[in-house]
């Protein structure tokens, strides 16, 4: 689309300072979120698209690692782009360095880096803090270093240990699924992974976040709607900044979500994207990493429960019955969660967060993914256009669940 058919569309494509100021006033979001969203809008006016030549990273990466390790003879070998994933550019490399033992050592690491615009715009320092808070509590890759503003690596990035394992097992139709969408785990895998999946979620919610350095997360007032106000604000703002087209069902959803906000009694660390596709397991069928913490915030655990059991992320068992995150029936998932966490599942709140989940997936796939492909600001333009299809299923499901809400 080269022409903008409405003033709003033109403003979104070429945001002026006044328009950005209006947007910032209109949607309540956390401070860190405002920072990255505002940066995204200011960068949108810059013509440069995403540079796909990742060899550009070799030299700055070496220099960055030399500074971080204070070693002058660091080598970066075998820098490779990772396939899979959608929101960030990811690379692996071998770092040759002098380990604390004094021995010369090769360590396999990964870089997780913002593209020019992402399917979800998030804060690298915030993700780094959350990963560090989760380290030792649940299986996560160890974060080693961060370039939060991209001053040294060109774009904001973090560097973490590379873990070996499987995210997506071989699929029956011999075709790869988009990670986490309709995946299939065979009965042996389901048997081994399901309870771990729930236990880890319970463990995340039990993290004593008050004892962690999470300075980039706003702390919501307990027994209020503060947590959902800013969480919803993020997604409503993303929709209004990114969508190429207005959509009546999204406005219907936004209105319902605003008029029915539940109280969050006791804010917990919410992962924000907990589902199949965002965990990895080892050959002995142990979940050895939970990924994609970039959407974590302090809020209601029902949010993770609704997201993990969202029909769009589910896959069927051998009888065609849909499983939560392709692992287990939703009722079993919720019962197991109650049992392992001690947190009660409130059906009304769960319903609210189901509506919210369909709203979120619609923002991600029907607005932001199409926007970033439109702006040529990602490494995955073809995939981002294609993923728009998920957004329209999300919109359809959002409309259906709103019909139930009445």
């Amino acid at each position: 689309m080269n022409n903008y058919y409405t003033t709003t569309q033109a403003n979104r494509a070429k945001p002026s300072d006044d328009w950005i100021a209006d947007i910032r006033k209109s949607y309540p979001v956390e401070k860190a979120i405002d920072e990255v969203f505002t940066r995204k809008l200011r960068n949108r006016n810059k013509a440069a698209g995403q540079n796909l030549d990742f060899t550009r990273l070799q030299k700055p990466l070496e220099e960055f690692l030399k500074k971080q390790t204070r070693q002058s003879d660091i080598e970066v070998l075998d820098l490779q782009r990772l396939s899979g994933g959608a929101s960030k550019e990811q690379f692996t490399f071998n770092m040759v360095w002098q380990a604390p033992s004094g021995q010369k050592e090769t360590r396999k690491l990964m870089v997780r880096m913002d593209p020019k615009e992402s399917i979800v715009e998030t804060h690298r320092l915030r993700e780094c803090q959350v990963l560090k808070a989760a380290w030792g509590e649940v299986p996560v890759p160890e974060v080693l270093w961060i370039d939060p503003e991209g001053e040294q690596l060109g774009q904001p990035a973090l560097i973490a240990d590379f873990l070996e394992g499987t995210v997506q097992p071989p699929q029956p139709e011999a075709e790869d699924k988009m990670s986490g969408v309709g995946m299939y785990f065979n009965p042996q895998l389901r048997g081994a992974l399901s309870e771990q999946f729930v236990q880890i979620l319970a463990d995340i919610h039990a993290i004593d976040w008050r004892k962690k350095d999470l300075s980039t997360l706003d702390v919501p007032t307990p027994n209020s709607t503060a947590a959902i106000l800013t969480s919803f604000g993020l997604w409503e703002r993303a929709w209004n900044e990114d969508t190429l087209c207005a959509h009546p069902v999204m406005e219907r959803g936004a209105l319902w979500l605003k008029e029915n906000m539940p109280i969050v009694e006791n804010p917990m660390l919410v992962h924000g994207d907990y589902r199949s596709g965002n965990f990895m397991y080892s050959d002995d069928l142990k979940i050895n990493a939970i990924f994609d913490w970039e959407l974590a915030y302090l809020g209601d655990y029902h949010d993770d429960l609704a997201w993990a059991s969202l029909t769009i992320f589910g896959g069927p068992d051998e009888n065609g019955d849909l499983l939560a995150s392709s692992l287990m029936p939703t009722t079993q998932f919720l019962e197991k969660y109650e049992q392992l966490s001690g947190n009660k599942v409130d059906p009304k709140k769960l319903f609210y967060y189901q509506v919210f989940s369909f709203y979120k997936i619609s923002v991600i796939a029907a607005a932001t993914s199409i926007r970033v492909a439109h702006s040529r600001k990602t490494h995955l333009d073809a995939m981002m256009n294609y993923a728009g299809g998920i957004g329209y299923i999300g919109l359809s499901e959002l409309n259906r669940i709103l019909d139930i809400a009445g």
């Binding site: 709003t8 899979g84 309709g182 087209c245 069902v249 219907r252 209105l255 073809a382």
Partner: protein, 186 residues
């Protein structure tokens, strides 16, 4: 004119799948080439229906906005925000008249009109809390079948992308557009 667009697309898809992909060794490149091939396949299924899709939407949005205007017209206590949107719609209908032969207009005109009408309807939805109880109730009733029709249409449109677990239950978009003479000749 030949070849038809479908032939261009299927030729490109075949070349990517049978020539390019088998010779790619990089996993990321293979993944992206697969998505390009799948996109070409999807485009084949919809490319000849794009114009009529927009035409259909043009009729749908004109119809719902006219219904909404009728409802709001009966509300004596309409506030300034709602009145402003009503004015925008009326002004738009001078530009793309509801009784005009829109089918003879070029695609960008129809698409542009639709984008504007979508925004007007969205503004009305946002302003629902400012409607009187009776008006809001009527408005919501009017919108329900519109939402259903929109949902069904969009889900049919994207069914060929392969994400929909209910794909088999979705009508083909051609059936929605062309059955029952839904595209009027106005």
């Amino acid at each position: 004119m030949s070849p038809e667009i479908e032939q261009f697309l299927s030729g490109m898809k075949k070349t990517i799948e049978e020539v390019v992909m088998p010779n790619l060794t990089d996993r990321f490149a293979q993944e992206q080439a697969g998505i390009v091939a799948a996109t070409l396949g999807f485009l084949s299924t919809i490319q000849d229906k794009v114009f009529h899709y927009e035409l259909f939407e043009n009729q749908e949005y004109k119809r719902i906005l006219q219904d909404v205007l009728s409802t709001l017209d009966t509300d004596p206590a309409l506030n300034d925000s709602l009145r402003a949107v009503v004015e925008k719609v009326n002004s738009h209908f001078q530009h793309d008249k509801p009784d005009e032969q829109t089918a003879l207009r070029p695609y960008p005109f129809i698409r542009g009109s639709n984008e504007n009408m979508k925004e007007f309807l969205c503004e009305f939805i946002q302003l629902q809390p400012e409607m009187s109880g009776q008006t809001r109730e009527t408005f919501e009733k009017q919108l329900k079948p519109f939402f259903k029709s929109l949902e069904t249409r969009e889900r049919s449109w994207v069914k060929g992308l392969g994400f929909d677990p209910e794909a088999e239950q979705q009508q083909d978009i051609g059936d929605i557009l062309y059955k029952n003479n839904l595209l009027r000749s106005n």
